[in-house]
């Protein structure tokens, strides 16, 4: 009996001694900054995207004074190169092992995103993807550490396919850069278009980085009334111009994903892009208080209007900060990701929610290139609200369908 008393007294004493220690530790954690590793492309072909992602991110961090949930946020911006997966992993290791970051964010290219998905799962780090859109990151290969406040490649394509059918188009040519993103962006349009009753008459897949699209343009089946495409960056710039050069503009409608006439290349495409219809999750011309405020602040800080990527960077920062507010600055692997996925964000692009796979529920804007105030612009003509990455299918149903990469070459059947 005495012994029991002795032991319990000892334990109580121990607890008394430890209590302040624990308290001190809690305080120490709160005063220490939350470390965020932001990995983007600042060299190679994705440099333009990387710069905008960075600027958007920094803008939000400035707005909140780099503080959220009572803690300071320390951001480590690193260049992960454009396509070099090993470099991306090197940088991730550096951020994790040397800087001990709590959260990893950024990533432009898909290859790096897949490789990092395994890295973050192994080390239990929340991973906020700011751009890489590969379907399976939040579908067939989803993982509890990923949240993606950007887009899902095929996500916005689904409404576009239906819209095109409703507008009276019936025979489509599919055309996209010959890699997974191309299959997913274009496949998404084709799937809903075919489901409604449209027909795919031809598939053409030029390699990424094709300099001269002439041999492909000459092959386009003139019976088609619409060409559904995915090209981005310098490819998109060339493609749209060459499409017009070969006299196809105005004869066969050119439609695609927003990257085709991105705001940073539209000025150069100028009248060759006239009338091009695209779908995007962001639109510079959106007249909402959130977007106007964002545009104004961004233009003031950087001297030029934001792009889609600036907005994605901005939203990445907002997502992390709002989640920190909610957890009072605590970052605990999987749980923190759950908190992020539960948020509803009032973003410049509109209301953004997340599903249990880390993918987005967000607006989808159909836009047309028109001249407004003497400038070529993407003018929104139709809005689909709260579009899920699975469209009208249930997640299980959708993921049972063949993936868009597997569907390549089989659309005309």
């Amino acid at each position: 009996m005495k012994k029991v008393f002795l032991v319990s007294t000892m334990l109580a004493l121990l607890a008394l001694i430890c209590a302040p220690l624990l308290g001190i530790q809690a305080v120490a954690q709160a005063s220490e900054p939350v470390k965020v590793g932001y990995m983007i492309s600042l060299s190679g072909v994705y440099t333009a995207l990387g710069i905008d992602l960075r600027d958007g991110f920094n803008l939000y961090m400035d707005e909140i004074g780099n503080k959220a949930g009572g803690r300071e946020i320390k951001v480590f911006v690193e260049d992960k190169g454009s396509n070099d997966v090993s470099r991306a992993l090197d940088i991730a290791k550096k951020l994790f092992e040397k800087e001990h970051v709590d959260i990893l964010a950024g990533i432009v290219g898909t290859g790096s995103a897949y490789a990092l998905a395994e890295f973050v799962q192994k080390h239990k780090i929340p991973f906020v993807i700011s751009n890489a859109g590969a379907d399976d990151l939040t579908q067939r290969k989803n993982n509890p550490y990923i949240v993606r406040p950007a887009f899902v490649n095929s996500g916005g394509s689904h409404p576009l396919g239906e819209w095109l059918y409703d507008k009276g188009y019936r025979n489509a040519v599919l055309m996209g850069a010959d890699y997974a993103a191309g299959y997913e962006h274009v496949g998404g349009i084709a799937r809903t278009f075919k489901q409604k009753g449209g027909k795919v008459v031809q598939e053409i897949w030029p390699p990424l980085g094709t300099k001269d699209y002439a041999p492909y343009l000459a092959k386009i089946d003139r019976k088609a009334d619409v060409v559904m495409v995915f090209f981005a960056g310098a490819d998109a710039l060339r493609f749209v111009k060459q499409y017009a050069d070969y006299g196809l503009k105005g004869k066969v409608a050119l439609v695609g994903k927003g990257y085709l006439v991105d705001d940073n290349i539209l000025e150069k495409q100028a009248d060759s892009a006239e009338g091009v219809i695209t779908e995007s999750h962001y639109c510079l011309l959106l007249d909402t208080p959130d977007n106007n405020k964002f545009k104004q602040a961004y233009t003031k800080k950087y001297g030029h209007p934001p792009t889609l990527y600036s907005e994605q960077g901005y939203l990445t920062a907002k997502l992390i900060a709002e989640a920190l507010e909610k957890t009072k600055g605590e970052v605990k692997g999987e749980e923190f990701v759950k908190v992020m996925r539960s948020l509803e964000l009032k973003a410049p692009r509109g209301l953004v929610k997340f599903d249990t796979y880390g993918g987005t529920n967000q607006n989808s804007y159909i836009r047309e290139v028109k001249k407004v105030d003497g400038k070529w612009q993407n003018v929104p003509i139709k809005t689909y609200t709260g579009v899920s990455q699975f469209w009208t299918w249930s997640p299980e149903e959708f993921m049972k369908l063949p993936s868009y990469s597997d569907m390549k070459g089989k659309w005309t059947e």
Partner: protein
């Protein structure tokens, strides 16, 4: 039939673009035995500089001159201050110019940003021409004409003028050229600058086709190297016909066997080199 006509015209226009892209590289290699890997950087600087001059002057041809001058200046610095120090050591030249490519590419991002861009083509060259029912872009016909003109011009220059004779003397026997009183260093610098300026011009004329963006330097370099290797190093004739061969294989390869599109440039080159290790019209080094 229409298919073949239009694809042949495509191939020809792409060939002339390639010729423009590789003429400067071939010229420099022909005289000086230097493989200038910063070649793509001259293209890049030419295109960006032309764009700046164009925005300022609003004239395509003033922009063209601006691009040529800027690329020539890059060539001058490269040859005069760097390459001259390691004359005759080819491996070092390769590394040096490769390093310069990184530097120039990054500096260009600092100056001009990273958005992909192109030069606006002059109004009278936009749109398509109706060739008896077949529409073909006017600008491409223009590029075909310019390519052929530059090809003939360079050939005449090399074969028929005194300067050309001096050049060929420099190529064949540098010491003898020196002995008969030719200022070889000046000759080399001049040729290098002219080659770089020519590449700058290709950056302007090729702009509406290819565009400028971070990484275009490497893309252009690879294409140009393939062409002059297939044609045979240091031969202007080789560069000209090499362009036609590479462009035709690429164009018809892509049109007829689209699934092999990734291989239409490099696989033929490997085969040609395996059969004829110095290229089709090459001389032995």
């Amino acid at each position: 039939m229409e298919f073949w006509i239009i694809q042949s015209l495509n191939a020809l226009s792409f060939a002339m673009l390639l010729f423009l892209l590789c003429a400067g590289l071939s010229l420099i290699f022909g005289l000086m035995n230097i493989l200038n890997l910063a070649h793509g950087s001259c293209y890049l600087i030419g295109a960006y500089a032309a764009l700046s001059v164009y925005t300022w002057s609003n004239n395509f041809f003033v922009g063209l001159i601006g691009g040529a001058v800027a690329a020539g200046a890059v060539g001058f610095v490269l040859q005069r201050f760097l390459l001259q120090r390691i004359y005759g050591r080819r491996l070092l030249q390769v590394l040096l110019t490769f390093g310069c490519m990184f530097i120039i590419g990054d500096v260009a991002i600092i100056i001009w940003g990273a958005d992909p861009t192109t030069l606006e083509k002059p109004a009278f060259l936009s749109g398509a021409l109706d060739l008896g029912g077949i529409f073909f872009p006017k600008y491409r016909l223009f590029v075909i004409a310019v390519g052929i003109a530059i090809g003939i011009g360079l050939w005449l220059f090399q074969e028929k003028t005194k300067w050309g004779a001096i050049l060929r003397a420099g190529v064949d026997d540098e010491q003898m050229a020196r002995a008969v009183g030719i200022n070889v260093p000046l000759l080399f610098t001049t040729v290098f600058v002219v080659g770089a300026a020519l590449t700058g011009i290709s950056g302007v004329l090729g702009g509406p086709f290819v565009g400028v963006y971070p990484g275009v330097d490497l893309d252009v370099l690879l294409l140009a190297v393939v062409v002059i290797i297939v044609g045979g190093l240091g031969s202007m004739k080789g560069a000209f016909f090499g362009s036609i061969i590479v462009a035709s294989l690429d164009n018809f390869g892509k049109a007829l066997f689209p699934e092999l599109a990734m291989f239409t440039v490099f696989a033929p080159m490997a085969i040609i080199l395996a059969l004829k290790p110095t290229g089709l019209w090459g001389r032995v080094l």
